[in-house]
Subunit: 665 residues, 2 copies
């Protein structure tokens, strides 16, 4: 890649066949002034030409060799919001959609199907998004750095300025192509210049960005500083019940919407990890969220309020306080009190994006509150986009989890889609893994998580394998055998990462602050509420009714399951129970032997991934091969360090040797 | 203190009595053009006036009430270099000195004695420095930061410029008053702008600084980048045996001395922690040092070559490689080959300034090589100038250590003073603890280490208690009881710090990178060669003849002593031996019980220090009380964390409970 260039990711449109066709487009009842439709048509023309060598209307007539085909686009009110129906035949393709976004998504669906091997005449799909909101959360700072970014710097911000260029538009295209309809551009930790995004210092650029996004069916959102009345206003308080504060926000939000009418709303991290919030004033999270929601309501805006609130100055000696409990403890009591344009954004697990956690009991635990699932594709704890870790299987597990919330639609997928409660302000959000690296995601293969999250949030019924294959076909257009190899690498990568890192759901055995590489005791004596409580006899946190009681935050069926060491899913055993090293697991191994075996297997698995990648050397572009190969070399070092440090730690602590006599230090 | 002001440290000159006297000064045979003598006279006038209310010549005659006294200064060739003889009587004081520096030191001795309670008529001392070189090494970077600095930023550098102002002169006065005669102004890790200190970018300011220092008997030295021929020249190599490299250095050093004739020479950290050096070219440390020494010899310059060379990318699994061995292994083989103007600068212990280490076997191990002792008063591993840790007792232990090198002058004090080998290029250096904080050392009480190092390097016979009392008298002029309290705090502080941190010489149980606060396994699985090898049965590194063989680097008497667990001094037991937790120590306690007890005692000791400080509240200036009190609050937190984390770590690992049933987690 040349400097200043960037890849087209899955929209690079490899030539899949030579159709010799020409296309024209007919629209019926479609808003001809719609920027979204314009962009959809552009994408079709560009895509079909690149994929099949076809000519498109305007330049088409003279070049017809196989006859002229027609893309017929019309609106159909019977189709669900943002949905589409596509059907190909000998004459072309019919695209019916509910609305402009449906047209755009329909076009991308056509191109995807062709990319994946269908002829245009074979294209067929009825689809509408599973989730009303499908969002990407950027943790980009205005100095250009990215919190937990592993792909270079921000492409939105540089030197406290907003950057808008061709890359911005490509980004919007990519997001639209996977069905994303909301983007938060700035870090949830809003500090310094970012506090001024809601002032005239930045209005022009924010508006310009919101308009570009709007052309791709995407609403722009901002992360908000709850202390704005103090930091950018001249008030001494940001108490959400203070009349002056409310009045300040009313003026401010009016000013914002006067200048940026397309703004979707705000994401707020309050009372969390040092951020200001309503607790400072003895108010509840509901007080804070509802105040802002009332102020923004006239403009149709949303307040997305994060539930990542916990005591981050815990004393490690304190075994009663349990960070895992915090979200439920703080938010459940106000279920039903959050206003209709508030959405609580809940991380998939109760801790923080570990490779294995139980599903947060808040999801479905809240029965009268808009809620949204937050996952992280930025690989903060899952390998920094050095280690291969395809996260879609993890997200699938979360979505498929039965909350037992009393509805027959009781999975997390049901809850966050709004199906359970019949609400519209719901959906899924991901902390995104992009940066200004030429390949967008640092590790080329990490783009599978970017692609995968979008697709999954659009259609939660898709399998991790389907998504992987779609991504591979569109990105690399590999032959069948190579597709199988790469798909299989992706599908087993998460289990491999889990095996060589922390065992059985305990998490956190990671280098503090950076969150890459092992440090078994790194968080054991810290203030972060993240402990494994290992001693010479056993390990794990007792979160049962005899321990912290966290398991009792679930509905009865799940609470019972987690509460018993025999019924608790083994992959979460140490999350819920303190277990002796000598306890026999269901596999017929002792806990300590399981730790040893899984760490040896995990490292071996990483070597298998690297070997598989080597076998693809001639199938993928050489620069892609080289970049990913470099990362596999680092992953092998990482896997070896994890294996040996974790095994040595537990061998030294327990004194129990490995049955197989392998090297432990 | 006002902004931009700074304290006068021990030269604040409290009024100790009202003499009603007046003084005149007579000199005999003294160089009237000497800046050093000028400064000495100024110090006398200023000091005697402030201490006793005396008038001094010029303004004196009219104000005499008790008669006119005379300070008679003359040179006396019989006195050793830089030495002085002072004697007071009814007529005044006689000061005889070997040279200008002797005069300066003699004046400061007079002021010190008066500060400490003597009348001028009682002043009496014969003294000459124990060590030819008495140096302070600053680790100041040219951006103004200080590596391992805990007292603000640099007062030498700011924004890549050299800063010279009134503070510079005060600094020189303080150093002269404690006998320092050499100062390295820049960090041994020479990077970026600092590589250009030997170019015309900085010559003017370096010369100006060297001249100010010279007025106080101080030679300015620079840390040197061994890769200068590459980094600031246009060569492709810095191979010390390459003719072009040698020629480059000849030109460069000539240019430097043409511009900065007063330069003392260079300090070099080569082949260490990522710094370039002769090893890159298959050359020895002697090759590197001798080349530079030959080049600088015509100008009378010294090359001070650090012996801090070790493998900092060790595999923790490797139990054969021992960082402690590295200095001896790399340098001993070339004993006798280092040229006469090379001095090897050797850290007091073989590791890196831990609170307890054995003395480096290189000290005295080298029998035909100039050597210099390096200690650290910057409290990198000893509490960051938050925790009180008076280091003079530690330095005394090092100086008093018998190397058994075969001479009847075989202590470290003998070796580094040059007494053992009869050499002049020898002495002591300290990594300094100053910064641009108004009180110079962050913690006001850390100035005792600054003062103490200078005094001890000048007179290694002084006791830690004498030095502490001198410092207290000059700084705070406290009544007897309060002096005793503060002196006692200082004297017991090192043992207290040792007790609540890592046990029995093992070291390194510290937070990686920052080096403050506990992290028992923080360096256990790292690349730094710093391991404790604790398992469920015991702890310690076997450095005996059955282990890494480090103990055999000492002369036989010491080697035997360290090699046996019964003869090894107990405070170093875990440095030399891997010991079961159940082993009985000489105190009649098991090792594990010793760990528990010492950690409880250490934390209690810290509380005792804080309580003692509270008792001094009305005796010391309130701003001093407040600043130090703030630090004691932090020290108590730190001591508690150390106590609980270390005890919990070993309880969890060994499973052996505390006999006294105290809380362990």
């Amino acid at each position: 890649m040349e400097t200043g260039k960037w890849t087209g990711l899955w929209l690079d449109h490899h030539r899949v066949y030579e159709s010799g066709e020409a296309w024209k487009i007919e629209t019926d009842g479609v808003d001809s002034a719609s920027k979204v439709v314009d962009n959809a048509l552009l994408e079709f023309k560009r895509g079909i030409a690149a994929l099949t060598g076809a000519k498109v209307a305007g330049e088409a007539e003279d070049a017809v060799t196989q006859g002229l085909k027609t893309l017929k686009i019309s609106l159909c009110p019977a189709i669900s919001s943002e949905g589409y129906h596509i059907a190909g035949d000998a004459d072309g393709i019919t695209l019916e959609a509910s609305d402009d976004r449906g047209i755009l998504y329909g076009v991308f669906a056509i191109l995807r199907q062709v990319s994946c091997g269908k002829r245009t005449a074979e294209v067929a799909e009825d689809s509408a998004p599973s989730n009303p909101l499908r969002m990407m959360d950027h943790w980009d700072n205005m100095d250009g750095s990215i919190e937990r970014g592993y792909s270079g710097n921000s492409f939105f911000f540089e030197n406290e300025q907003i950057v808008i260029n061709d890359r911005t538009r490509d980004y919007a295209r990519f997001m639209a192509s996977i069905g994303i309809n909301g983007v938060v551009i700035n870090n949830v930790n809003v500090k310094g210049a970012a506090s001024y995004l809601i002032t005239d210092r930045y209005f022009d650029k924010v508006r310009e960005l919101s308009e570009i996004f709007d052309g791709y069916g995407i609403r722009l959102y901002l992360s908000l500083n709850f202390a704005s009345p103090i930091e950018i206003g001249d008030l001494k308080t940001c108490d959400p019940l203070d009349a002056q504060v409310i009045s300040w926000w009313q003026d401010k939000i009016k000013e914002v919407y006067d200048n940026v009418p397309l703004l979707g709303g705000f994401l707020v991290k309050a009372d969390s990890e040092g951020r200001p919030g309503p607790f400072t004033y003895g108010r509840t999270q509901a007080d804070g969220a509802n105040m802002l929601a009332d102020v923004i309501k006239p403009y149709g805006g949303l307040i997305i309020w994060r539930c990542f609130v916990y005591n981050c100055t815990q004393d490690w000696r304190d075994t009663k306080t349990d960070r895992a409990r915090a979200g439920y403890d703080y938010f459940k009591g106000f279920d039903g009190e959050y206003h209709d344009n508030v959405i609580l954004q809940i991380k998939n697990g109760p801790m923080d994006f570990q490779i294995r956690e139980p599903v947060s009991p808040l999801l479905g635990g809240l029965q009268h509150t808009n809620q949204m699932l937050e996952v992280q594709i930025a690989q903060e704890y899952t390998g920094h986009q050095i280690d291969l870790c395809y996260l879609i299987p993890l997200f699938k597990e979360v979505l498929d989890f039965h909350t037992h919330c009393g509805s027959d639609k009781d999975t997390v997928a049901d809850v966050v889609s709004g199906r359970t409660m019949g609400n519209r302000n719901a959906g899924m959000a991901a902390v995104i893994n992009t940066g200004n690296d030429a390949n967008w995601t640092g590790n080329d293969l990490a783009a599978a998580n970017l692609y995968g999250f979008g697709r999954l949030s659009f259609d939660t019924e898709l399998t991790a394998e389907q998504i992987a294959k779609e991504w591979i076909a569109q990105t690399y257009n590999l032959p069948g055998k190579e597709t199988e190899i790469l798909c299989n690498m992706l599908l087993r990568s998460r289990e491999i990462y889990e095996k060589y890192t922390s065992p059985l759901g305990i998490g956190w055995m990671v280098t503090p602050a950076t969150h890459y590489g092992p440090s078994v005791d790194g968080y054991e004596y810290s203030r972060w509420g993240t402990y494994h409580r290992a001693d010479h006899l056993g390990i794990g946190v007792d979160r049962t009714d005899k321990g912290t009681g966290y398991a009792q935050q679930y509905y009865e069926e799940n609470a019972k399951m987690y509460n018993g060491p025999d019924t608790c899913p083994e992959e979460l055993l140490l999350f819920f129970h303190h277990i002796p090293y000598t306890r026999m697991l269901k596999t017929g191994k002792t806990l300590i032997q399981h730790i040893y075996d899984s760490h040896f297997e995990g490292e071996e698995g990483a070597r298998g991934l690297a070997a598989d990648w080597d076998s693809l050397k001639s199938a993928v572009p050489s620069e892609v091969y080289d970049r990913v190969k470099e990362r596999f070399d680092l992953q092998l070092d990482n896997a070896r360090e994890w294996r040996d440090q974790v095994n040595s730690y537990f061998f030294r602590k327990s004194g129990i040797p490995d049955e197989k006599g392998r090297p432990i230090y």
